[in-house]
């Protein structure tokens, strides 16, 4: 919009017709040149969006001349979203889904290691479904068949039954160290809307959240797209194993304040994504002190709390608040069943807050993303089956640990070490020795080779805003054990060609 106003002034007479048509054309030409130069080598966008950015430009330049009627325009918010995806995170996901690896059916396909999905315990869930779902979904606990129980309008922030069941499950997942209040929950169709809704409640357009890097690429979408809220990275280093330091937080806070941007809170994932480490109790205290001092909110995304392995214990923000005297009003927790219960398709997420005002607002906002009633009913059954959930949580831990050990060992043989971690469905691998130049460009070249030559999709650290090049997130829970040697072999080939070139 800001471009159009001065140009209109030119067209309206101050610069004459020639300038009026010359300037937009020149801009158009230079913008196309810039885009061509900077387009990543692999932005093979799907057909409908391929011509989007150029046609959008054409539209804009057409509407600059007075009186023209182009096609009905879409909003500025939408224009940026309509552009072809240029983040390696999304490009890789697309490529892998177009040509998915299958041991028997498509052995030369792309192996998907870029999606943090857990497929290790499906057999348990499937068995539960078969044993328990033979009845119609309409039948409620021994009652008569009736659809009105699930067909009619439900409480938009989730049924009380599901909240109770979720409270129990969350508590079990976190080792029974803390209990959760159903009345402090707002259920949403996945953690994605939970994060967005929370941002709408806590920050205005133009405000910012501090977020430690590297962070989950999806935050750029969930937090920024429609809310207009900014994310300010707080860089963490491998020397600290990528753990946040209060000093760095403070620095980022002050720098951002000087710019005139208002910071409303800190957003973090704990267990961390993509690194997979945990915040210690002391660190959580430090964060709470900092938030209190600067009057900030804390959003703690704890969606991987049940995807632990190893012996370290997970400490939830809720646990710390329970035991200490901190201002609870500023703490909000995100949770969901996509990772811990492997049901991303069912869309179950949650905002857990201690702030009544936030809960009141969030409750009203969830009407835009409520959980489907029949799904809620199934989950109430499943989550209330404590025998099942206990077995699931235990087995899940063991299988993730097993897979991780094999995967990390495989990488070690190739000379690739991984960051220390105790949770998550991925490992954080240091491939800096394999990149042609120690820079983001070099990292993306390696990513490209791995995706298009070796045909494995892993997520480069730059997509996660990591400040040190060469780190990659590799999700190993979508694999079967037999696939690990295949993956390692493919990486080895790339590593060898790099060694022979250098």
């Amino acid at each position: 919009m800001r471009l159009i106003v001065p140009l209109q002034g030119v067209v309206q007479g101050r610069g004459g017709l020639i300038l009026g048509s010359l300037i937009p054309c020149a801009l158009f030409y230079f913008l196309q040149l810039y885009l061509k130069r900077n387009r990543s080598p692999n932005s093979q966008s799907s057909p409908p969006s391929r011509s989007t950015s150029s046609s959008t430009l054409a539209e804009m330049t057409r509407t600059l001349s007075r009186g023209s009627i182009g096609p009905a325009r879409i909003s500025s918010r939408a224009i940026s979203i309509a552009k072809p995806n240029d983040s390696p995170y999304y490009i890789g996901l697309d490529k892998a889904s177009e040509d998915p690896y299958d041991r028997i059916g498509n052995p030369h396909g792309v192996i998907q290691l870029g999606l943090s999905e857990n497929r290790l315990c499906f057999d348990l869930i499937k068995k539960w479904m078969l044993d328990n779902l033979s009845d119609s979904i309409m039948r409620k606990e021994g009652g008569d068949l009736s659809i009105s129980g699930i067909a009619t309008y439900q409480p938009i922030d989730g049924t009380m039954e599901l909240k109770l069941a979720m409270a129990g499950f969350m508590s079990r997942v976190m080792g029974g160290a803390v209990s959760f209040e159903p009345s402090q929950m707002v259920l949403t169709a996945g953690a994605t809307p939970a994060i967005e809704t929370l941002c709408f409640c806590l920050a205005d357009h133009g405000n910012a959240f501090l977020v430690p890097t590297p962070y989950y690429p999806g935050f750029d979408r969930d937090v920024k797209w429609r809310t207009g809220v900014e994310l300010i990275p707080v860089h963490c280093r491998s020397t600290d194993n990528f753990i946040l330091s209060i000093t760095a937080l403070d620095q980022a806070f002050n720098q951002t304040r000087k710019r005139g941007t208002k910071i409303r809170g800190i957003l973090l994932s704990n267990p961390a994504n993509p690194v997979g480490n945990l915040l210690s109790r002391e660190m959580l205290h430090g964060l709470l002190d900092f938030a209190q001092e600067k009057n900030l909110h804390i959003i703690s995304d704890e969606i991987f709390a049940g995807s632990m392995y190893g012996n370290e214990k997970f400490v939830s923000m809720a646990e710390v608040l329970d035991s200490e005297n901190f201002d609870k009003d500023r703490v909000h927790i995100i949770y969901g069943l996509s990772k811990d219960l492997s049901l991303p398709g069912f869309r179950v997420g949650m905002i857990y807050s201690f702030n009544e005002n936030v809960l009141a607002a969030a409750r009203k906002l969830t009407r835009f993303s409520s959980i489907s009633a029949p799904t809620q009913r199934i989950l109430v059954s499943m989550l209330s089956d404590t025998r099942f959930t206990e077995e699931y949580i235990e087995t899940n831990k063991k299988r993730i640990q097993n897979m991780r050990d094999l995967f990390v060992a495989g990488l070690k043989v190739l000379g690739i070490r991984c960051g220390e971690s105790s949770a998550g469905l991925y490992c954080w691998a240091d491939m800096s020795k394999l990149i042609p130049s120690y820079s983001e460009k070099g990292e993306l070249e390696l990513w490209d080779k791995l995706l298009n030559v070796a045909k494995i999709n892993i997520t480069p650290g730059s997509a996660c805003h990591c400040i040190e090049p060469g780190w990659f997130r590799c999700c190993f829970t979508t694999l079967a054990q037999e696939d690990i040697p295949v993956v390692m072999e493919r990486i080895r080939k790339v590593a060898d060609t790099h060694a022979s070139c250098s």
Partner: protein, 438 residues
Amino acid sequence: MAIEIEQPSVGLSKVAVSETHGEDSPYFAGWKAYDENPYHESSNQSGVIQMGLAENQVSFDLLEKYLEEHSEGSSWGKGAPGFRENALFQDYHGLKSFRQAMANFMEQIRGGRAKFDPDRIVLTAGATAANELLTFILADPGDALLVPTPYYPGFDRDLRWRTGVKIVPIHCDSSNNFQVTPQALEAAYQCAESMNFKVRGVLITNPSNPLGATIQRSVLEEILDFATRKNIHLVSDEIYCGSTFSSSEFISVAEILQTRDYKNSERVHIVYSLSKDLGLPGFRVGTIYSYNDKVVTTARRMSSFTLISSQTQHLLACMLSNKEFTEKYIKTNRERLSKRYDMIIKGLKNAGIECLKGNAGLFCWMNLSPLLEEPTREAELTLWKIILNEVRLNISPGSSCHCSEPGWFRVCFANMSEQTLEVALERIHKFMEQRKRK
């Protein structure tokens, strides 16, 4: 530089504290009264009867019968093949089989007079989300959408709250049965311009809520032409199209576009949902059907915030692909709604109350203006309170629908049993008798 005001406690956003959710209006206040004292056929016969909720319960038995006989939708069959894929499926494109089934269902409802391409269907968790999403895509904060009055009170929230977009009303009145006129369209456009709002589109509900009537073909064409002339979008919320009492009376904007060979169609978007026609609001199933590729792509990506559970998609794909079931359901549902409508109109007429001639929807648009002390909004609200507290019926006052003529009320009839409807009609009759005597 802005002066920073120190806040004693951690603050919330403007969105969180704003009143744009509109939930303090009488539309929602009546629900509170109902929640506190709900009518029940046997246990609470003096409670408030809920006639403010447009829910369709008249065809539940058909749904129950289907689900009982076809459990393959709710399980995944022997050995549950496909369960894994289903549980993992979070693709914002949506299940292809479900989109196909939705496209077919939408065609069936329109008597095959319009074709729908499954690849233009974007799924959302309910029409509420669909309307908001479209608004995010078509308009920037501070822009405006033109909406004919009276309109569904929820639009104030769905179209404005998080989007920052304004609604400028297109005033309609009873002189021509509240139909939109070219003059009213132009007046609304000028009004928006004079307030410095950029108009981005017109949003119509067809069949109309709260009028309970379909939009005539000529009016639809006028609205479409208006949108084309002004180079703005047209959103047609058609969630009540399957609740038209006679299939031939509903004309979808899709039909008009088809007859025009889809010329200028990239500005048209249709919202649909299974909440009203199929009576499944709890399932949270809505769709955006757009003739504009960019809108489809963008809406799909934005739908990440409002995906439909894959389990629900699977269940409904099975149900809606069953042609035998859908044909029977659509036909029977129409007949039952028509019967209910006749019943309430007759009952109201006996009580001396006239309604707008309707042919669709789960409600009728009742004219109580003769009962008003004076033709004002205040008098209407006074009457509404009396009906709520003394007659113990929750009906929706026209002012909460932004109707410019006081005295009209929306009365829902499909969310209760016939017996309950009888009780409600008796109460109204008694009330009117009392007033006559005074």
